[in-house]
Amino acid sequence: MSIDSITNWLDERLSIGALRSLAQKKEVPVHRHSIWYYFGGMTLFLFVVQVSTGIMLLLYYRPSAENAFESVQFIITEVKFGWLIRSVHSWSANLMIATLFIHLFSVFFLRAYHKPREITWVSGVFLLFIVICFGFSGYLLPWNKLAFFATKVGTEIAGVVPVVGRPALRFLRGGDDVTGATLTRFFGFHVAVLPATATVFLGIHLALVQLHGMHVPKKFEHNHGRMKFIPNFILRDLIGWILAIGVLAALAAIFPWELGEKADPFAPAPAGIKPEWYFLFMFQTLKWLPAKIAGLDGEVLGIMTFNVIAALLFVVPFVDRDAENRRLHLIFNVIGVIALLFIVVMTIVGYVT
């Protein structure tokens, strides 16, 4: 049986010929801002790394307060290359959040969310929150001191939201306190609920990107080149992915992710405790807010403000609808720059103080 006859057999049943000609026809615009096209693909690649290393960790991880810490310890000390797989999983998670933020801001500043790509943007914002939930739930799983307190504080923040806060907190923790029940829950979110949700939104997101093709910024609409997706763009993507694997391996080898000490619900919080870097800007803001603002709890006000801003992300393409409106354009640029500066400055302040 020759390759051709196998190809023909498959083609008659799956019409891969149509798919192939579709893939061959796919083109990517080339212009001064083409570099930003790579960050979505990079985020997707790191997500694939997360799924594969995550499945591997599942071979040894045991999700209970009695066993979780010991099983991670077993992974990094006894299992061959366990330290590598675990560190790559942690580092890749962080890099993925970084590339996701770059992707988000590049799409925002290049206004790639204009008609007909509003749903692409909304599905992307959903993916952003799903990824943040991935980070938050995964952080607890090694059941160490830092994770324990980070989860206590994080779920407490959900709890201060008026009306829905308290039930949400009890739902997240599986009770009133962070216990083994919380760990089991977070494990379920991390390996079942979130992956299933992410698959749905990722499917929508990618299908829409295929449907609409890459967005070309207004400035380059009539003067840009084109590049074949296969092989030109995909090979460039591939180089980026190989680089990413190299960076991940180097980070894992030079800065292996620490395990710390086992969580103890009756020990005081360790000094200098901080959340993951992508929560630092909110953490730092809450630290600086006065206890009372205009008679309201400063903390509640701060948390509510962040919630409102997060919700506003969804409506961006429905407010900035007119691609020709220069005033709106300016306003959105200013908002974007302020948000970016705020995040960067507060993250740095949170990091150094």
């Binding site: 051709d4 591997m56 071979l59 040894y60 299992v79 061959k80 290359f81 590598l84 797989i85």
Partner: protein, 156 residues
Amino acid sequence: MNPDTRTNANKLRPASPPRRSFLDFLLGTSALATLGAIFYPIFRFMSPPQIVESAENSVVAAKLSEVPPNSGKIFKFGNKPGILVHTAAGEFKAFSAVCTHLECIVQYRDDTKQIWCACHNGQYNLSGQNIGGPPPRPLEEYQVNTRGDDVVVTRA
């Protein structure tokens, strides 16, 4: 495409210069090395590490009072189960409790006075010999001594 046209197609292609084939070789070997560097750790990770078995040679299997004549008891010998039998004749016998057929755990039957495996009806006599059903080999036998109130089982 039939074989003839394929040879023709090959003939029509310009001969590739040696530099091209050298570059292809470099690219191919680096790709292989990269894939190796990725998949070797993955395969090693997936094969579970050897857990050192406790080299226990002797264990207190039971108290005398726990095993009246014509009864049996499963005990822990290292991380494997063993079976202690107090025969109707008053003798102590001990064997590995792992059936030689498909590794179920055997039990003593006081009605047939045999060691019996419930999974596939394997039968052993009180010397551990496989006398009925599918088991292919006898059970491994251990030495039994009594020390005061303790019944001590020792690997031979």
